[in-house]
Subunit: 214 residues, 4 copies
Amino acid sequence: MAAPEAIAPLAKQLSTTMAAIHSRGWCEGTGGNFSCVLQREPLLLLMAPSGVHKGAVKPEDLILVDGAGRVQRGHGSASAETSLHLAFVEQTGAGAVLHTHSQAGTLLSQHYGPEQEGVGILELRDLEMLKGLEGVRTHACSVGLPVLANDQDMGRLRQRANPLIENAPHGLLIAGHGLYAWGKDLNQAQRHLEILEFLLEQHWRQLLLQSLVR
Amino acid sequence: MAAPEAIAPLAKQLSTTMAAIHSRGWCEGTGGNFSCVLQREPLLLLMAPSGVHKGAVKPEDLILVDGAGRVQRGHGSASAETSLHLAFVEQTGAGAVLHTHSQAGTLLSQHYGPEQEGVGILELRDLEMLKGLEGVRTHACSVGLPVLANDQDMGRLRQRANPLIENAPHGLLIAGHGLYAWGKDLNQAQRHLEILEFLLEQHWRQLLLQSLVR
Amino acid sequence: MAAPEAIAPLAKQLSTTMAAIHSRGWCEGTGGNFSCVLQREPLLLLMAPSGVHKGAVKPEDLILVDGAGRVQRGHGSASAETSLHLAFVEQTGAGAVLHTHSQAGTLLSQHYGPEQEGVGILELRDLEMLKGLEGVRTHACSVGLPVLANDQDMGRLRQRANPLIENAPHGLLIAGHGLYAWGKDLNQAQRHLEILEFLLEQHWRQLLLQSLVR
Amino acid sequence: MAAPEAIAPLAKQLSTTMAAIHSRGWCEGTGGNFSCVLQREPLLLLMAPSGVHKGAVKPEDLILVDGAGRVQRGHGSASAETSLHLAFVEQTGAGAVLHTHSQAGTLLSQHYGPEQEGVGILELRDLEMLKGLEGVRTHACSVGLPVLANDQDMGRLRQRANPLIENAPHGLLIAGHGLYAWGKDLNQAQRHLEILEFLLEQHWRQLLLQSLVR
């Protein structure tokens, strides 16, 4: 297993990133959860324990979780949503997964959520900021952010997410719940998170403006 | 009475919590008041004196108030709303009570406030963030936040609140006034406050979106 | 004239207050101006020089201005709006005057501004936060915030303000321009500013909600 | 070429300014870019390298770019939009150019953007804050902010911008993209940026209010 000295820099960066995300109001209460890949073979995630306030987690309070979702080091239990983190890491090769509960994310995930257990789509288009998503090279495009129905059964939720992950724009929404964003490392995951949260807030303002001013 | 060394850590935490709440715009001017249970037998609350700016109260400026609302130690007077703090502490076993005057809380407390002296209800439902309220285990539920008519007579206000406290979701609104949130200790009260304020802001955005975009 | 050692604590407090006001977005660019009474006989105001960014004024950069609006000490010129500061100080006995250009203040000052050179009124009512204005003892009241037409001629603007100052709720609006708030000292002026800005933001949200959701 | 000791103070100020702009949410992800003129003959710009997070660029990470857009010192590549920075610097004599992607700027740039490749105009009027733009001396005026169609071809975008720069109010919008603001030095550019961003946010609120409340 990774030596403590290999963990320290990443743990410090993850702790700082979580505090910054909380200060923006994107993980109120004990909402949100955040993970980084510490090693791939065998898989080990560094993440915050479940049920704590993400704005004040010290590097030494982070836990190590294996590919089956079991805590391998540290105090506390792993989030029930760990299996979703594992799905994104395994299917996309992501090195970090950030899950937020923002105002715009929550609102639009309900607005565009599927009626039953299908998938909704939130279409984002014609904005320069789309270029902040790795792989997008022009504003003149349309990106579909998938919206899954929420579920307290994590097995079902992961099954629902599986077929969508490959084509998702480094993120997806869960209805009435919030946003998952990922990237090849913590820096890129943070970039994708900021871009997607910006685009969600922008979309909500577009909806207001377009419905009012014609 | 509690020795000064027992007071210091709690006083420091309460002072820091109040500054954080002010920095979010939830207790402008001299608005809001905040208390923690220092001991139960006999009851002693640690709280900010009345009429001061809650963003800059030092730990040593906090006062001790007994179960009859009398100041037992420190300078300044107890808030007129101390009897409400005592009601929540006594009826729920709460260890901390946080009272805010946020934009969304003020707005929705008027929108859903009772016509006369009855009780209004603000219904919150189908959101993952509801699980941040102790005892809620699924998003697929509905939580009714009571809204009382405002009153400058604290005896009447407490009487109105009494029958609602037991079933309230760790919080209630007073019309045109703001939110009370409580928890078993200061950490939990802060969590409930952040969750309820998030849900109020979300509800106001839902009202706008639903009325505009059909 | 006041000795430098008498100036230092007030200068430090004013500098800190201005930085806090800028951090809230209430005096963008070089907008806003802020003054404190250093002595009454003869009158001397401590204030920021004109045309500087109010978020980064050091205590030693503040200037002293006399009752005729002339700079008595320090570098830079006095704001063109100094005569309004003097009007509030002289007519109300205020010890500090804070002038902001917030989003809600600018918006509502235009919405309720007078057609010609008369006076508009923005009515604030039934809110607990009104009690943050010195002299208000119950939420069950109505407070009329005067709105003057804007003018680049400060003599005319002061003449227009004069008859309104005595009954104004420790503040008034200038149309398309912003808010003036005052208090017996800097602490009270800051309290009145926070309360009035809260009430303005609240009023704008009320207008949206009431026009949309009936 | 400029000696390192001549670069240090400007590099420090630019780094601080970028961090402040990021903290306001005006350059999320790797959005935005920012430059200062270090010397005019021959022209050298100090700017952030492309594709980095603008909230955390250290002074020593800034690069030097010449009048042809080539990196002359430092690591990383120059932004694709460098040729626009050069256009503003060369045609207006500006000493600093700040380019942001704010919510209001993005939203209104789409709302007022041209149908094809023409130019849209966003009219700002009757606001005291207009006086924060160098050369404006009264609120009683109208200022037209040009809105260009967006383009990934920087040569075409610069050609489109060229005829508008001289009469633009120290700034212009690119549709679905964001705001460029400039000034004779970094302080003035920051002032113009804050003023224009304030006026954009204000305009969006005016549109909502006017469409709802008549």
